[in-house]
Structures are given as structure tokens and as C-alpha cells.
């Protein structure tokens, strides 16, 4: 009797609590705040895109607005050194991504499929490679080159970029491989596919999306890196190095135009990846 009267009361109190959401106003305030942060993070991007259209007296951008022009895009490659630096950056990014994927993929496979000695140490080294401050990574690599008298240039930049990219590739790929169903590969082997055929026809297509996102991250990290590169570059200039060097004398608008193009290419690639994932993750809906 008592229980019967208490229960509806509890139930209705619970319902009342749920139907009255935790402050409708608080919820709106949070949404407004989040929109404000989104806008704030976009400010530098907008500034880059807009200032690429600013008229530049003497070929250097001023902080003040001098009027709209398409000159930066029309003469995008007019500054030979800047163009060379961009080409170097793209070459280093492409090569270091390729090498890091080739080195890192087997390691990620081993780490998700085998138990072996030294795993903890390997984990610690990979994590410290990711977490170590760039200035220490750069300085210590330069220390190695100095000690052995290695002349600095394209190759030393490439080595450095592979050294940080390989750790990121392993971590990203390992996260993707952990969720992967191994029974598909086993099924292929049960159906008398030899291990190589099973690997290339089954495993590789399965891990391709993971490799894609790892490669995208590696490429972005490489083309973006300033701090480590600044130590190991010698006289060779990458895009960020050239831009940094130009800060003191004034930035030509071409820098922002190239930055915009890199941004658009990166955002489209990543956006396409997100959309591909969304369509894949909701089959039949």
C-alpha cells in the first residue's frame, strides 16, 4: 500500500526533473559561446584569405587596407625564391609521408597483431618522439649532424621529417587497426589464398582508409613544420622558413595567396575524408 503511493510520487518527481531541462537559458548561452569560439578560431584564416587581396605597395603587405586586387594570384609565382621554397616543402612533404608510411605501416600491423618483447619500450619511444618539444628534437638532430660533419640541406630536412612523421603514422594507424576484424583475413586464408595474396587483396584494402588519414596527417605536419626544420635546413629554404625570414622585411601578398591555396587543398581533402566516412558509417540509412 505504502509502496504503491510512494512510487508514483518518485516517478513524477523524476519526470518533472527530466522534463525541466537544466536551464534552457544555460543551454543557449553554451551554444552561443561555442559559436563565438568557432568564429574566433576562424579569424586568422579569414585574415589570411582577405589580405591576399590587399594592394601591396612595394610588393610588401601593410597592416592597413589599401584596396582590392587580384595581383597576388595573378603573379603567384613571381618571386622565384618563394616558389622554390614552396616546391621544396611539397617535395619534402610527399617524400617524408611516403617513407613514413612505408616504415610505419608494418610497425602498426605488428603492434596490433603480435605480442612481443620490447613493446613497452617501443611505445615509450614513439610517445616521447611525439611529445618531445620540437626545439629539442631539432637541436639534437643538428647536434648529430654537427658531430658527424653532415652538410645540411634537403636530405637532412627529409630525415628529420620522417623521424617525426613515422611516430604519428604508427599511432594513427594503430588506432585504426585495433578496431579491424581479423576474421576476414583468416577467412581468405581458409579459402586457400596464400599469405601474400591475402595481404594484398584483403588486408591492404581494409587498412587503406587508415593509411589515408595517417598520410594526410603526416603530409600536413611536414608542410607545416618550422621549428625542427629551422635547425636542420642549412641554406635550403622551405615555405615556412622563407615566410619566417620575410617577417622582418615585410610579407609579400603571394605568401597569403599560397597559404590560402594550401588551406583550401587541405580542407577539401579532409572534408572529403569526413564525408566519405559519414556515408560509409551509415549504410542503408
Amino acid at each position: 500500500m505504502e509502496a504503491a503511493t510512494i512510487e508514483p510520487a518518485v516517478e513524477s518527481a523524476r519526470r518533472r526533473r527530466r522534463s525541466r531541462p537544466p536551464g534552457e537559458r544555460g543551454r543557449w548561452a553554451l551554444t552561443a559561446y561555442v559559436i563565438a569560439v568557432f568564429l574566433y578560431t576562424l579569424v586568422p584564416i579569414v585574415v589570411m584569405i582577405v589580405y591576399a587581396f590587399n594592394k601591396a605597395p612595394n610588393g610588401r603587405l601593410t597592416f592597413a587596407w589599401n584596396g582590392f586586387t587580384l595581383d597576388a594570384y595573378r603573379n603567384l609565382f613571381a618571386i622565384a625564391d618563394l616558389t622554390n621554397a614552396l616546391v621544396t616543402s611539397l617535395e619534402v612533404a610527399a617524400l617524408s609521408t611516403l617513407i613514413a608510411v612505408v616504415l610505419g605501416t608494418p610497425a602498426a600491423l605488428a603492434m596490433t597483431r603480435y605480442r612481443f618483447h620490447g613493446r613497452g619500450v617501443a611505445d615509450a619511444v614513439i610517445l616521447s618522439d611525439i611529445a618531445a618539444p620540437s626545439v629539442v628534437v631539432g637541436a639534437s638532430l643538428l647536434g648529430l649532424y654537427v658531430t658527424f660533419g653532415v652538410p645540411r640541406g634537403f636530405t637532412t630536412i627529409l630525415i628529420a621529417h620522417v623521424a617525426f612523421n613515422v611516430a604519428f603514422v604508427i599511432v594513427v594507424l594503430r588506432a585504426r587497426l585495433t578496431g579491424l576484424d581479423q576474421s576476414i583475413e583468416e577467412a581468405a586464408q581458409d579459402l586457400y589464398a596464400n599469405p601474400w595474396v591475402a595481404f594484398w587483396k584483403v588486408t591492404v584494402p581494409l587498412i587503406m582508409p587508415g593509411i589515408f588519414s595517417a598520410a594526410l596527417l603526416a603530409f600536413a605536419l611536414s608542410i607545416d613544420d618550422y621549428i625542427i626544420t629551422s635547425f636542420v635546413a642549412g641554406q635550403t629554404l622551405t615555405f615556412p622558413l622563407w615566410v619566417y625570414g620575410a617577417v622582418k622585411v615585410g610579407i609579400p601578398p603571394q605568401v597569403f595567396a599560397m597559404g590560402t591555396l594550401i588551406f583550401v587543398a587541405g580542407a577539401i581533402t579532409a572534408g572529403a575524408g569526413v564525408i566519405a566516412q559519414r556515408t560509409r558509417s551509415v549504410p542503408g540509412s
Binding site: 589570411m48 629539442v136 620522417v162
Partner: protein, 285 residues
């Protein structure tokens, strides 16, 4: 024979990436240890004289920059955490089916080159730029007001750059919280604030841990923000390492500083891990 091959497989798969990381990440750390103990100059060369005195020397000479770096690192990390936690919360719990798109929005600054990101803040915050210029024109700020070359500009730049790094791991941790746990708290008459502080925040602690660690380490070692947005009074330890190494070829001093920075951060990381007890860092990077 087959058994042996299976046993060797994980080591063979790991070998290429391990070799690269050992040669170009671990060995260089020993290279700068050796360099730091050498004396001499860049013209006549350096000799290993086991000059341990270099460590106390650089500590006393550059203690200001050390403290400043750690102060800027702490402040920018706290700002990034406070700014991004609500955003990560909002995406995880209110993002609905557009979560991946909101995440992409947070990541958009990544596709703008790091140096250009800092550079745009120079444009935004410049004395005659549209923020300060406008405020001065309408009389809200005195004509002499400036932000560039102050600590605020450097800390602001560092904090801005950290926003995506902070948001991602926290989001991953929040994503893992079961809605049932929140319902359980509500059933036990926890009000919304108690649910936030006693359930959600503790459950997202590993994400906070990872975000704080990554951002703090990156920002303590940074020198780009200080040199693009700062002035003579905002020099960080990274600036000193870079100048001493690359411009002055003062290898012993630069190496000693890099090792001290790495050592301090390692000890800090260890204490931090002991205090917060999180050991699953790799899940969040």
C-alpha cells in the same frame, strides 16, 4: 621453420621504424649530451672536456627565460583548457549527427601554415590594424596603446595555437562517457552542476591530462610566437636555443639548454603522471 618465422615476424616488421627512431631521435639526444660537455669555438673546433660546469652556468645565465617559458606555457595551457572544454563538451553531447563536421571546423586552423597563423595575429593585433586602430579611432583606447611585443600577445598566440590540440583529446574522452552514467547520476538526484563536476569532468580526466601535456610541452619549447608577436622582453628559452645554435654556432650552450629543457619536462611529466595517474596517453593523441 615456420614457427621461427612467426616468432621473428613482429621484430622484422618493427625493425625499419625502430632503426629510424633510434638513429634519428634517440642517438641525437646523446649527440647533444656529448656536445654540451665540449669546450672550444666554432672556428677552432670543439673538444670533449667533460665540462659539466656548463649546466650551472647556463641555468644562472638564462634562468629568466626558463621561468618565463614555463609561465607562458602554464598560462597558455590553462587558457586553452578553459576555452576549449565547453566546446569539446558541446560537440560530444550536443553535436548530434554533425559531430565530425564540428570537429573539422575546430581543426581548420591546422590547414593554415603554422608560421602564417602566427603572422596573421601580427596583422590583427598591430597598432594600426583593425582591432586596435578601430578602438583608438572611436576613442576607447589611447593612441599609445599596443598589444604586440607584450607578454599578452605571446601568450595569446600560444593559446590560440593550442586550441585544436586541447579540444581533440578532451572530445575523445567525453565521447566515451555512457549516457547511462549521466542518467544514473540524475536518478540519484544529482543536479546538472553536480553531474558536470562529479561525473563528466572526472570521467574526461584522461583527455584533459593528454591535452594539457601536449599543449604545455609544445608551448614551453616554442619560439615562433615570441619572435613574431613578442618583443625584447618576451624572449623564451626556445629563442635562446635557436639563436645560440643556428646563428652563433655556440653548440655547447645550446645543447645544454636543450637537455635541461628536455630533462625538466621529463621530470615534470613523471610527477604529473604520478599525481594524476593517467597512463593511457596514446589513446588520445
Amino acid at each position: 621453420m615456420l614457427k621461427l618465422r612467426r616468432a621473428a615476424a613482429p621484430y622484422l616488421l618493427n625493425l625499419p621504424s625502430w632503426a629510424w627512431l633510434v638513429l634519428f631521435f634517440l642517438v641525437p639526444l646523446f649527440a647533444i649530451l656529448s656536445l654540451s660537455l665540449q669546450t672550444g669555438n666554432s672556428v677552432e673546433g670543439f673538444n670533449l672536456t667533460w665540462n659539466f660546469q656548463v649546466f650551472p652556468d647556463v641555468i644562472s645565465e638564462y634562468s629568466t627565460q626558463f621561468w618565463r617559458s614555463f609561465l607562458y606555457g602554464v598560462l597558455s595551457t590553462v587558457i586553452a583548457l578553459v576555452v576549449m572544454y565547453p566546446v569539446a563538451y558541446w560537440i560530444a553531447f550536443r553535436g548530434g549527427r554533425y559531430k565530425s563536421i564540428y570537429l573539422l571546423l575546430i581543426l581548420l586552423p591546422f590547414f593554415v601554415s603554422f608560421v602564417i597563423r602566427m603572422l596573421t595575429w601580427q596583422f590583427i593585433l598591430s597598432d594600426e590594424g583593425f582591432v586596435l586602430g578601430t578602438l583608438k579611432d572611436i576613442g576607447l583606447l589611447p593612441q599609445s596603446a599596443h598589444i604586440l611585443s607584450t607578454p599578452s600577445a605571446v601568450i595569446g598566440g600560444l593559446a590560440y595555437d593550442a586550441l585544436p590540440y586541447m579540444a581533440l583529446p578532451i572530445y575523445v574522452a567525453l565521447e566515451k562517457i555512457e549516457p547511462a552514467q549521466l542518467d544514473a547520476a540524475a536518478d540519484l538526484y544529482a543536479n546538472p552542476w553536480q553531474r558536470l563536476w562529479r561525473v563528466i569532468v572526472p570521467l574526461s580526466a584522461p583527455g584533459i591530462y593528454a591535452g594539457v601535456l601536449l599543449v604545455f610541452i609544445t608551448n614551453v619549447g616554442d619560439f615562433v610566437a615570441a619572435s613574431i608577436l613578442g618583443g625584447p622582453g618576451t624572449t623564451m628559452i626556445g629563442n635562446i636555443i635557436q639563436t645560440q645554435y643556428v646563428e652563433n654556432a655556440n653548440y655547447p650552450v645550446a645543447s645544454a639548454l636543450a637537455l635541461l629543457l628536455m630533462g625538466t619536462l621529463l621530470v615534470g611529466m613523471f610527477l604529473y603522471a604520478r599525481a594524476f595517474g593517467a597512463n593511457k596517453l596514446e589513446e588520445y593523441v
